[in-house]
Every structure is written in structure tokens, then in C-alpha cells.
Symmetry: D2
Subunit: 343 residues, 4 copies
């Protein structure tokens, strides 16, 4: 069985396991105060190209979203997101659990538009009773989005300007950021993101790590006593080395970008294969998630050979199927898939 079900179906990039083994017996302080966390932070700062950033490591995506949002917002503030945003749909209400409302805007291929955000905020502050509503304090975007789509630099710039105008923080969920950075579908760089956002994260779990997300606060926006916030959320690892060593490895000799580039190459090949067999895509995704429309009958071809994720059922005859590549996707995997399509 070959799996394209997601980018978290295999373990870690072998280099990470190797480093975990090599450092295993070194006694290190706990709770993120070890040399590997320190070294990884420096390497990430360097690759971002800014000095005024603070890097912190957390374990997983939902945890990171809830922690960032609740630690940066005032208790009466809410966070604006696309209606398809991960925090609004697939996190079991983790943000609301911390007391904050997710305020939704229409989505356009998983993205929100600066103009619509501006219109929402203008209407909000023009409403005489706005203090009886949830006051927006932050905008959440994902890049790549839940549909694999990407923002362009001009879009990020526009969002950033609207945020500044209305006193909103801009937060980018980068659970799959590597694929966005290595995609040909956008001109957005890591440095651009640090310029436009107040906080974002560089996803590890879905980009070759066993677990881990590297949160980047820019422009001095890191909340005071952030370690206490982490601990209060039950998110502080005693063996913080697990995160430090992984990110130190990922940001040594550009491994993070290597992994992402490889997955993007595999995704491009996957796309070509599907096109060659006359299949259509549900959405034009420039990253490692590909959403293919197949006739229900066709699903039998994959049986016992290829694992995928059923995304939706647009009508009775068709299914939208998601195929995802990762660090561990091989040419052999693609060959198995193509063999299925040959029927």
C-alpha cells in the first residue's frame, strides 16, 4: 500500500532521527533551555533575515493556533478568519475554549480579501453598538490554505495595511509553510512574511518532523512571560530537546527547504500524471495537496493499492479526492499511482 493520504503518514526525515540518536545521551536542561533550541532559534532568525524576531517551539498546530490567539488577544477580542479556516472548522473549538470568538469572512479559494476585511471593519466601527459585539483583534490566515492555495505578495501587503489601519494583528498559520515557500505559485518569501505578519509559524509536523511548530513573533510582539502561557496551556515539553534538535536539523544545510522542494516536485509529477489521464482538479492548488475530481467508479482502481483522503462529494457520480505528497513520497509511489490509473 502506497499512501498519499496526508503529509503526516510517515515518520520523520531520517536526518532528524539520526540527530536524535547522536545527541541522545547528552544531559541537557529541560523545558526548552537546551543548546539545540538555542541553536535552532538562531538558524531560523538567520534564514528569515531579521534580527527583531523571537522564535519559540510548540508541539502541534491546533495547540499553536490556540496559544498564539489567546496569548496575543485581550480577553474581549475575537479573531477574524475565512469561514474555511482551520481554526473555524477542524480544531474542535480550541480557540473558543480559550474564550475567544472566531469571526468569519467569506472565503475565496480558502483566502480572504483585503477589501472585504476593510469593509467589515469599517461597518463594525460605524455601528453605534459595536461595544456590544466582539471586538476584532487579530486576523488569521493560512498559507498554504486548507485548499493548498497561496497568497501573493500584493495580497499580503494589502491585508497587512488593512490590519494596521484597524489595529488588528496579522497571524499566519504556516502548518505547511515549506510547501508554500518552495511553490512556483507565489512570490512570497519568508522575509516577506516576517515583514507583513506580527506572528506566524513554520510548520514542522507536516514538513518532515515527528512533531513541532516554530512560532515566530516579529517586531517585539512576543507576549510577556510566554513560557508561562505555554505551561498554562499544557504545551511545554519537559524534554524540550525533542523540538530543538528537530528544528536545528531542519534548518541545517537547508533541509527544511530540501524536504519542501522534494514534495513539490512529487506534487508537480502527480499533477501531470492526473492531467495525462484526463482528470480535472477541484481547485488549482500550487502546493503539495492536490484535489482531483474522479468518477466514483474509478475509486475501485485504487483499492488495496493507494491510500487517499475523500474530500467531498460534489454530486452523486463524483468524488473529490485529496492526494498529498511529503518528504517520503518516492518515484515508486508515483509509479504505483500511475499503474492504478492505467486500470
Amino acid at each position: 500500500m502506497v499512501s498519499f493520504a496526508s503529509d503526516y503518514t510517515t515518520g520523520a526525515h531520517p536526518e532528524i532521527l539520526k540527530r536524535l540518536g547522536e545527541t541522545n545521551l547528552e544531559p541537557l536542561p529541560g523545558y526548552g533551555e537546551d543548546v539545540y533550541c538555542q541553536s535552532a532559534k538562531e538558524k531560523i532568525k538567520k534564514v528569515i533575515g531579521r534580527d527583531d524576531v523571537d522564535v519559540e517551539f510548540l508541539v502541534g498546530g491546533t495547540q499553536t493556533n490556540a496559544l498564539i490567539i489567546s496569548s496575543m488577544l485581550q480577553s474581549y477580542e475575537g479573531v477574524i478568519a475565512a469561514e474555511t479556516g482551520h481554526i473555524n472548522v477542524h480544531e474542535s473549538g480550541a480557540v473558543e475554549y480559550t474564550g475567544h470568538k472566531v469571526i468569519t469572512l467569506s472565503e475565496h479559494d480558502g483566502k480572504i480579501k483585503a477589501k472585504e476585511l476593510d469593509a467589515y471593519m469599517e461597518a463594525f466601527y460605524n455601528d453605534e453598538s459595536y461595544e456590544h459585539m466582539v471586538i476584532p483583534g487579530m486576523v488569521y490566515i493560512s498559507h498554504p490554505t486548507e485548499y493548498g492555495t497561496l497568497y501573493k505578495n500584493e495580497e499580503l501587503k494589502a491585508l497587512s495595511e488593512v490590519c494596521k489601519k484597524h489595529g488588528l494583528l496579522l497571524f499566519m498559520d504556516g502548518a505547511r509553510l515549506g510547501y508554500g515557500l518552495m511553490s512556483k505559485g507565489t512570490d512570497v518569501t519568508l522575509n516577506d512574511i516576517a515583514n507583513y505578519c506580527d506572528v506566524f509559524y513554520i510548520g514542522g509536523t507536516k514538513v518532515g518532523a515527528l512533531c513541532g511548530e516554530a512560532v515566530v513573533f516579529t517586531k517585539g510582539k512576543k507576549p510577556k512571560h510566554f513560557v508561562t502561557h505555554i505551561k498554562q496551556h499544557g504545551a511545554l515539553l519537559a524534554k524540550g530537546r525533542l523540538l530543538g534538535i528537530q528544528f536545528d536539523t531542519l534548518f541545517t544545510e537547508d533541509l527544511y527547504f530540501e524536504i519542501s522542494r522534494h514534495a513539490m516536485e512529487m506534487a508537480e509529477r502527480l499533477k501531470e500524471t492526473f492531467l495525462r489521464y484526463g482528470l480535472e482538479f477541484f481547485i488549482d492548488s500550487p502546493t503539495n495537496q492536490q484535489f482531483v475530481i474522479v468518477e466514483n467508479e474509478m475509486l475501485k482502481l485504487f483499492e488495496d493499492k493507494v491510500v487517499y483522503t475523500v474530500w467531498s462529494k460534489p454530486d452523486k457520480e463524483h468524488t473529490v479526492v485529496r492526494f498529498v505528497t511529503s518528504w517520503s513520497t518516492t518515484e515508486e509511489d508515483l509509479a504505483v499511482l500511475e499503474n492504478c490509473l492505467k486500470g
Copy 2:
């Protein structure tokens, strides 16, 4: 430098790293639905010796405490703990963050007494205005405690009876459970714990894993939709295999008990060494944490050679120092320590 600072200063038991490597390329479903989680659960059930238990894996101790307490209590209920209980002191208010009060009882070597619990509950329900107070719904104990001490079977039995009498759930924090089970200082077995408690956990992080705690619900007490609770707390790993493989390894060929027995042996040797050099203990701990009273001058002997944790300063001339053993403590480590004591 040799470290006795804690049981989380080195990485994982090598067998765990080996298994992570061997299984690394297997495509597995995410979120704890993989075969290793399943297998680990079965092995843990077997070693407990009861069928009516449910096992779930979480990442760390504070997270586990907050999740268990908040998912098992009604929203108006609080949890009773010794004033020295970890949830009351060193978790940055993670329990209160979920809305529940920690109600404290006096501690006796880190433990609470069934009689005092009973007296508290009797007084509580005799107070006419008890509905204006926080209604106790659960008792939290740690075993070993924060001082390394252990409950005896008759103590657990008595606590369990008082809990039943007053409608309280009994929850044992077993972050260092292995050391408690392998200690000669108590007659309490894993099966006893499952009999007396409604929920407890088998700590992995401090007993040879990179991270991970195995929560055991007994007598059908697992909350409905517990996966949703986990997700809502940001505690669900996409690569759930990280926990499954670790616990599957720990409960294969009794590795968990091996690790704990080894650390206990090292702790016994450590104790003997200190006694031989005429040192006294702050508390009589039968587990892997040893609290030694040293003259401040003496601390210089350890400089640049041995890492420890400063526990407290009982007076101006003395310091209480904590030494902890683990899976990775070696005879060489003990020899270095003894050399220091020789001066």
C-alpha cells in the same frame, strides 16, 4: 559533566529510538488511529490485568492533568489536592485556566490523609451554604509524590472509600509511576491502582520516553468523545505514532519496568553513598528522587562535575539538593559523584 538534575535530562531509551527508526517509513493513519497505538493499548491493559479499562495517549504531564480534570468534572466542580500537589504549584494555573478551582488539603510528606479528606467533606456538606462554594468533584494524588514518597495499599484503599462515600472521583498523577511500582517502599501494584482509582496515568516522559503519558480510565469512566476533548485542548498529535510506538516499545518485554528498576537500583546506590559520607536526607524518599541536606560549602565539591537541582534553603548554612536517577544513570555517574564527596 554528569547530571542528576532530573529524569528528563537525557533523551529516550535506545530501544525506543531504534523502533522509531524501524517503523519510520510505514505509512500509518494519523491522530492515534495507527496499529502501534492499538497494540500499546492492548499491552497496557494486559499488564494492568483488567479488561474494563480504556487507555489514551497524551504528550505531557501538565497537559494530561488539565485534560483529565476538566473533561471529568462538571463545570461547577473543583479538584482537591495536597497543597504541594503539582497541579497547585508548578503548572502555571493550567487547571484554573480550564475554569476549575484546586482546593487544597494539608500535605504529609507530599500525601493527603483519608481522615482529613473525610473531615473536609463532612464539614463541607454540613455547611448550609455549600452551594455557594466550589463543590469538590475529584481528588488528585501523585504517586510518587513531588517529594518522591509513596502511598501504601491501605492508604489508597481508605482514600478510595472516602471518595466513594462523597461522590468524588479518584485521580492519580503517575508521571513517575514506574519508580513507584519498582520501589521497595510500597505494596501498591498497577492492578491495585486500577482498582482504587477512576483514572490514572503511566508516565512516559520521565521514565525513558521522549514524551508521552498513557492515561488509564477504569470502570467505564472515560468521558464521551474524549478525542474531541483532546483536540479541543490542542493535545492531539497528527503523528500519533510517536506516542504509540514509544509505549508499544515500553510495554514490550517489560522495558518500562526494566527502566524503572534500573533507576531504582541507581537511586539505592546513590542513597548508600550519601549515607556513607554522613549526609542526612530532607525526607525519606523510597523512589528515584533523593533530597539531601548539604552544607553550603559542600556545593563547591560538585562544581563543574555534577549537576543537581537546588530544592530549598532550610537555613543560612544548608541547602536541600535533589539528585534524580533515570534510565540513563550509569555506575560511572555514581563514581563521579562519589569522587566529589571524597573532596
Copy 3:
């Protein structure tokens, strides 16, 4: 100046003030344990016509919504509401503050449709990853709605059936319930509401009281230790008599229904007046809130004479204006309004 701005712009019905005065010196126990609370509860039960209901008094609407929702839901559950529902828009996120998500359905004149609710729930449980979402536990409806509209018996019945099918509680926000009961626009009685809903409230604040809402739990659904829930939310009045005496008065000699009938009569007259002057309505409201579309120019006619609420601006030339009647609206008030319209 005559005010149609809302139904909370004047004080209490004079009979309430009279009773507060008459009972003022009687020493009574606090926290709702007085004879007037008891008597009011009995009278409300009687008028509902069911024995299996529990009545509790709270101070205001937002407080009541947040308390009912958070005390009846499990911690991982959310509440479904129309996107225009008060809890979703004008309560500053009071529900989310208690940790629960408000899940929105499309609104139809402020109401939700049983069919759409059923479709949502069917899709929800057919989604393999529904445990990664917020699990719906309750449906919130308002009657009258925020637009003054009303459910019909068959609509309530259908909603109730869908709720039972999917294990959802049905909760009716009755902040303006009196007007709904006295309106000719529906066949729904108080007894019907008690049959179909698991919980609802009979609004006092907007129906002639100084403050106060009477919560009615049906079919034994009152949460255990509800007084503790109230206290925990800071909603328990020391002088509980303030609520008891008010509701005892409102439910003596049908005063509550008298007040509502009077306001409805005034609303009918108001409607006729507007129609006579050729004005159109934004929505066809059968209750005490009337939404009139006026040309912006026309607003000058009301200046310094009549107070109203600006509801929305459908286009550049028009404004939707809300006029509300209450226990204190008089024929003289209507005459002043008509004089304005005469220009």
C-alpha cells in the same frame, strides 16, 4: 420627547413598584429563597400548565443565555443558532467566553428551518472526522426573533423532532416572549413552548420589569446544583426578592399578558399609522418591534419629537428605522408620532 427607541426605555410597570414598596420592610432570606420567589415559581408553573418544570430567576438576557448554554452543554459541545441570533451578534462573545462555539445556520426572517438543521446534522455525522469539529449539543432560537418574527407551532414541532433525532437540546430565548404570546401572528402558546423546548425563558426586562428573566427547564432538564452555576457566573442576587416580587406581580392577575397585549395593541396602531402614510416595512413583524423604511429626508420630521433606533441603511436614500412599543406606550405617544408624519 416621546420614545419608541426600545421596550426598555422606561422603568417598571407601576404595579411592580407598588409591590416593591409594600414588601420593602419584610425581612426575607436572601439568594432567591424568599416566599415571593417561591410564589412566583408556582404561578408560572400554573400558567404553563405543566408540573414537570423548574423555574429559576436571573437578572438579564445575555447572562441568561450564557448561563443556560454553558450549564447544559458538555465542555466540548457547541450551540447552533441563526447567523442573526442575539448570542452570535450582540452579546460581546458571552457564550464563547464560557468556552462554547456558536455554530451558525442561515437565517430566514431571523428564524432557522428544521430541514436545514437536519441537513447540517446529517452532514456532520457523515463526516468521518466529526470528532475534530465542535459537536453540536443545543439549538438556540429566539421567539420573537431579533426581527420581531415568530415561529408557528408546526415549525417548532419540526425543530423539536430534528433536535430529538440528533440528540440536541432545544432552547428558546424569550426575552420578548410576552409579545410573541399576545401576537395574532402565531398559534404558539406557553404550553406548546414547554412541550417542544428543553429550556426557555420568559423575559421580564423588556416586558415591564426593572430587570429579570424567568428560566423554565422542562422534563427534568434543570442542571444539578444550578444555584452553584448561577453563583459561579456572578448572577446570584443577594436580594433575590427583587426578582421574586417582580415576577410574582407579573404573574398575578395576568399582568404579564396585560402588559404584552397593551404593547401589541399599540404596535398594531403604529403599523396602521405608518401604512396610512404610505410607508413600507423592511420586514413583516407581528410583534412590538416595527421596522419601517423611510427616506432619509423624512427623519427630520421626527427631530426633537420622537426617539427611534436606526436599524440599517439599505441604500443611500433610505434608512430602516425601528419603532418599539411597551407597557408604557400611550395613545398620546402615537398622536405625537402621527403629527410628525403629517409634516
Copy 4:
């Protein structure tokens, strides 16, 4: 039956009811934006004697405590209180429900000592792992305390200095403040309180109002968007006039102080009566709550004649009984009590 059970057993001071009647038909804006709220705020500012204060009205004590604490603390901070503090004992965990821990210090006649607070804070910041604990952000004191005792100016000054030294806000719960201000047992004035505290409240419910507490923020400490905080907690009255008119009346012609002085006079007389009959006091209270130690047998004397509150049972033969005076206590009430004592 004559009641000394508490200061909330009768209704409001007649002047308040009179004003509610006189203003009843005036149409006023809702949510605290009426002229009476405005006028009451000005009068309170004047009587405090400082311009740099902000006054806001809330409904009850527990609500006020929870709202002040949660709106002024950062999410990771806790509040320090005497172990007997109302927020720690009799508010059903309302503070913890908002996510904040109550950290307790020893009580001395219901008060905390500046030296002990300083020692706690010194030890806290000397602990290397203080970021793994709850970081204290505020100190809560009550004046009068739960035992009726009072702080002296020098005590308040010392507490205020320790708070400034460690970056703590100082908050005084003044649910019974009037009695403290009119007592001969302290030199503390309203102006002193405003000088030393960052926030405090002037209790109405227990000092002659039907309900209501006037919160005073000093030195610009009022949280941004406080109205939104109030609404989010379900604490905003639609008919805000109910609070405005009451406090406007209480602070017209010194009624608040008159009420308090009267109750204090009655309390003095009560005290003398008890002393004359050879009874002893459990605590030396200089305010309107008197705690008398009586032989259990003696309680029969009060049967069917006088209502009191059982406070505690110090031994098998004795009971501590609380007698409380208020605006409505009369000489006749005292005569009935004395008659009981005559036996």
C-alpha cells in the same frame, strides 16, 4: 420576627424606592448611558475628592469581583487573597471560572499583612522556576473583611508599597464599605482608599440599595472597552437606570453615609447589649457584623423572635452567632433582642 441575619434581608432605603417611582416614566437610553448614571458618577467622584477616577456600575458583589479581576489581569496572572477572602471561599469559584488562580496568604482577623505579602513575592521571584507557577498580578483585600474587621491607614499604605514594589495591582472589595467608613475602628477615608488602591468598589446591595456596586478605577487603570467586558460577562443591565438612580440617590445629601452611620449606631448598641449580658465576642469587629459566642442552650431564647446566622461551632457547647445591622434596623428590633436575652 425580627431579623439580624444579614444586611440584605430587607428591601431598599425608602428614598431609593421614591426616586425609582418619580423617574419611572422618563424615557432614558439603556445600558448605563442615562443621565442618572452620569450624575451618580459625578457625585461619587466628588465625594472621593479625586478627578482621575472612573466609576462604573455593576449589579452584585461576586460579579464585580470576577469582572474586575479578569479584566485587569493578564491571562497568565493570579490574584493573591487572604485564605478567608470571599473570592476564595464563598463565590463558587467565580474567579477560577474566568481562568485565574486565587493564591492564598494566611489571614489575621481576616486581613493580610504587608510583610507576609512581601516575603511571598520575594520568595516567588527568587524561585528559578517561577515562570512555571502562577504569576501574581493583583492583591485582593476586603474592607470591612469577612469578619467585620478593618485596615488602618498605615496597613493600607504598607500594602500599597509592597504592591508597587512587585508590580501588583491593589483591589479592595468594598461590599460593605459604608460601614467601614462610618466606623470608629479605623482612620481610613474614601480618599485614602482611592490613593492606595488601583480599583475598589462602593457596595450598594448591602448598604441600602436593591442591588448594585459602584466600581472605582483610579489613576487611569480602567480597562479599555470596559463596557464590552461587562457585556461579555452578562453583567450589563438593559435598564441601567436601575443602578444609576439608586447610586444617584445614595450620593445625594450623604444618604450613603447616613445609612451606614445609622447601622453603625445600631451595631454599637447591639454590642453594648451583649456585653451587658456578659456575652463574649468571637472577634472584635468594629463594623455592622457582630460575632457573639453563645451557649447552645441560649439559642432557644431567640426562637420565633430573632433571626441570626450561625457562623461556626467552636466546641460542643458553644455556637458563634452573627448579628448584622442595616439601614432598616430599629430601636424596636434591639428591644426585641434584649427581651430575648432577659430570658
